[in-house]
């Protein structure tokens, strides 16, 4: 299975609809401080079902919605759509291309879709359960985790092995 594209609209600093297409090699994302690179990683974790705003650097989940700038007004919702190639049937669903969408309104109301069909957040999480993708895997690697590995106590470090076991 591989990532084909992630499309974000209204998510954090992505006030305009923006799509990233990925190929099977290594893709690098570059740019100055604060331009939105880590926000893409947050969009990725969010669409896969992250429920803790603090793990997305926010205080409330509505912090994920573009809240305005000097030149733009705040938006009313955030929408992220992730499209994957599933021709090897890694996901327990009989489509060659799978897209999952998460949408959050300022009211706090949420909508979720798998291939444009409305579903619940739990359906999205179950879809990825056996793939090793999601909060307990190494599909995201960043400085905080490296710091944890080094600075954690020997007892805390156990969790790394327990999760893999």
């Amino acid at each position: 299975m591989y990532l084909k594209r992630i499309k974000v609209f209204g998510f954090k600093s992505f006030a305009d609809e923006t799509a990233f297409d990925f190929n099977q090699g290594i893709t690098s994302i570059v740019g100055p401080n604060g331009c939105g690179k880590s926000n893409i990683l947050d969009a990725f974790n969010w669409v896969l079902g992250e429920q803790s705003p603090s793990r997305l650097r926010g205080e409330a989940m509505t912090d994920m919605i573009f809240n305005g700038s000097d030149t733009r007004k705040a938006l009313g919702y955030a929408n992220v759509e992730l499209t994957l190639d599933n021709s090897k049937d890694t996901l327990p669903i009989s489509y060659d291309s799978v897209s999952i969408t998460r949408k959050l309104y300022r009211s706090g109301e949420s909508e979720y879709f798998i291939n444009k069909t409305p579903c619940r957040l739990k359906d999205i999480k179950e879809l990825f359960l056996d793939t090793g993708i999601g909060t307990k895997s190494y599909s995201v690697m960043e400085q905080n985790q490296l710091d944890f590995i080094i600075k954690s106590s020997p007892e805390e470090r156990r969790s790394l092995i327990e999760e893999a076991a």
Binding site: I26, S137, E142, P154
Partner: protein
């Protein structure tokens, strides 16, 4: 269960030793159970010895050495349970050019089973990628992207 934890622990330890030695071009490393007779509760210690140095504990090693050792351990666990794709966010900032080069070469070796997306400030990292996206914020507060497919650009340059 005790067997399952021990089995995973031993596999990670073996991977860790191999990946560390590959990334540091020498030296040795292992993870160790502080209480081998209390497997279900024992804490885990990391021993890392960069090449030529007589250091046992990872504590005395440098910032860059700690980062590279932690990367080795993350990938040691990843090898036990590989993921189809992996996003790395600026894990390369503390690495000098030589260490960065070896880390990138290791990433390339994993591309047959995993698709990588690496967020970086480092020119060396950009140069060895197939595609890169530049993210900018000309309009303050609003992200915008520019995409450059290096392989395509190079091939069309060669063709035309």
């Amino acid at each position: 269960t005790k067997e399952r934890f021990l089995d995973t622990f031993n596999r990670v330890d073996k991977n860790f030793g191999e990946i560390f030695t590959k990334l540091f071009e020498g030296g040795s490393a292992k993870i160790e159970l502080l209480e081998p007779d209390n497997v279900l509760e024992s804490g885990i210690r990391i021993n890392a010895r960069p090449p030529g140095k007589n250091i046992k504990s990872i504590k005395l090693t440098s910032g860059g050495e700690k980062t590279l050792s932690a990367i080795a351990l993350m990938f040691a666990i990843y090898e036990v349970r590989p993921t189809p794709f992996c996003i790395l966010d600026e894990v390369d900032s503390p690495l000098d050019d030589n260490n960065l080069h070896r880390f990138l070469r290791m990433l390339k070796d994993y591309t047959d089973k995993t698709q990588f997306i690496i967020i970086t400030h480092n020119k060396l990292t950009m140069e060895m990628c197939d595609t890169f996206y530049g993210v900018t914020m000309e309009e303050f507060g609003v992200s915008k992207i520019i995409s450059v497919k290096l392989r395509e650009a190079q091939e069309s340059a060669r063709a035309g």
